[in-house]
């Protein structure tokens, strides 16, 4: 299967920063239709990486290939046509006076005929459940609604790749869940390749694969369950510790040994109620005499 994105030996250094490289020798591939999460603590270089993929940063070394096109100043628009990006602060990405105008903006830029544009904008707003806000000013919307409008823009443009750069981090829990559910649907329905840069454990859990960036280096790459099995160390990677891992650690301190490895909530619950109801069998060994 051909990769939709190939990153080879990427490096970048901010012009006036101290000697430290923001990215150093980063290489990885993204498969078509995959959901890839990129995690790392604040300042690790993960947002720099996202910008580099979209040609928003003049990286100093390495190559980025998107849909077979090698990114260069000449091809940057060919690359960007394939990628939709949503950033952390929704206020920084609105250009239209109304929600509808804003969604239409990208299509106008591509000179889509007006009748087609109207139907695509209407369909996109409907898809994200924002039809009744079509004539509202974007500034009058809540954070969650703004991000839905940003997603409508993505639906209208139908790029192959969606990059979410901490797109849910400023939303309240409800807004975050609604946004994540919507991205999951689009990912499934439109075979959209999703790259999400995140600190959110639920968002990371939605991915097929997780890359961990630390200090400008790619230090780890694995499926979510393997990453989450690291328990307390996840804090250093810029993620929260999953609840089941916190509970496992707390049980261990009380002399109860849970199964090893990452447990989903359901697995953990099942193991607990079976252990509690089964008084004769001894599913665990005491760790202390």
């Amino acid at each position: 299967m051909e990769n939709i994105i190939e990153v080879h030996d990427l490096a970048y250094q901010y012009p006036d920063a101290d000697q430290r490289a923001a990215l150093d020798g980063v290489s990885f591939d993204v498969h078509p239709g995959e959901w890839l999460a990129i995690v790392g603590h604040n300042g690790s270089g993960k947002s720099t990486l996202a910008k580099a993929l979209d040609g928003l940063l003049p990286f100093t070394q390495g190559t980025v290939t998107v849909g077979g096109v090698v990114l260069s100043p000449e091809t940057v628009w060919q690359v960007r046509a394939q990628i939709g990006m949503i950033f952390q602060n929704p206020d920084n990405q609105f250009v239209g006076a109304t929600v509808e105008d804003d969604v239409a903006f990208g299509l106008e830029n591509r000179q889509v005929p007006r009748d087609q544009m109207l139907t695509r904008v209407a369909a996109a707003l409907d898809r994200v459940g924002m039809t009744k806000f079509a004539n509202r000013a974007p500034s009058s919307l809540s954070g969650g609604q703004k991000q839905r409008v940003a997603l409508a823009g993505i639906v209208a443009m139908a790029p192959k790749i969606l990059i979410l750069d901490e797109a849910t981090s400023m939303l309240d829990p409800q807004g975050r869940q609604a946004m994540l559910a919507l991205v999951k649907e689009l990912h499934r329905e439109q075979q959209l390749t999703v790259i999400s840069i995140t600190h959110d454990i639920d968002e990371a859990a939605s991915a097929n694969r997780i890359l961990v960036i630390d200090d400008g280096h790619l230090i780890e790459e694995n499926v979510p369950a393997a990453i989450f099995a690291q328990g307390e160390r996840l804090m250093d990677l810029g993620l929260d510790v999953p609840f089941t891992a916190k509970l496992a650690a707390a049980l261990q301190q009380r002399g109860i040994t849970p199964p090893t490895g990452y447990q989903t909530t359901q697995e953990m619950e099942e193991w607990l109620w079976q252990s509690l109801s089964n008084t004769s069998a001894t599913p665990t060994k005491p760790t202390h005499p």
Partner: protein, 293 residues
Amino acid sequence: MVVAITFEHVGYTYQADTPLATPALDDVSLTVPDHGYLAVIGHTGSGKSTLIQQLNALLKPTTGQLTVDEFTITPTTTNADLKPLRQHVGMVFQFPESQLFEETIQKDIAFGPQNFGMAETDALALADQMLTQVGLDASYAQRSPFELSGGQMRRVAIAGVLAMHPQVLVLDEPTAGLDPQGRQEMMALFDRLHRERGLTIVLVTHQMEDVAQYAEQVAVMRQGKLVKEGTPQEIFGDPDWLRANQLDVPRAAQFAQDLTAHGVTWPQGLPLTASALADQLAAQWPKGGAAHV
């Protein structure tokens, strides 16, 4: 009980007496004990921020009144009376780092005390002290606040608030936008200020895990009204009510409730944190399966 904060039938209307009048607080009555830790939860737009802005009279009640220790704020309180109140109640707004402006961190922290009449040398010395309070060492004093990470900048902004020696600390979503580690460190800092320096804390947050872990009292706001108030146990012990009000349930409580469906009981009440859950599980763990530690 010595009371630090009392709201008595407080109402607030934005742009009152104009055609655009929007009621934001409706008949809120509430008391917070001295050295208390109150968490205010509720949806975006429920009136949480309007409520806490009454505490240092950034917004003054349209009806009713409130007292904060020796200060009383009524609809007719004039701005001339507010200086001591604003020194007494420290406010940390959302994204406080956006209010940093000085060329060195030390000067930024010293700005508030100097503004309230402290001599420059004293204010600079105080700034150094406050820096260590928020977990940054003295080497930061002469650096520019703008070369710090988001979490560090926020600490500097908080040090500036602490330099005023407030007795009440009001925090409006203080961990928004920080990574999980930064969030945890920030919450531990407030907890320390609460326990060691006896600050009364009022925290507005969407993070139910933090509420379950740190708060002593919870107020739930909806459409400008105080709809429920009690201990975290009283508020979170009823997950069905929380869900009906579209509020998040702490993970441990949700997990415990799922186990209830399999016949597990919680004699100490529904656990709200991972360690409380583990305590109750260990207590009923079958013999031979658990060591007695």
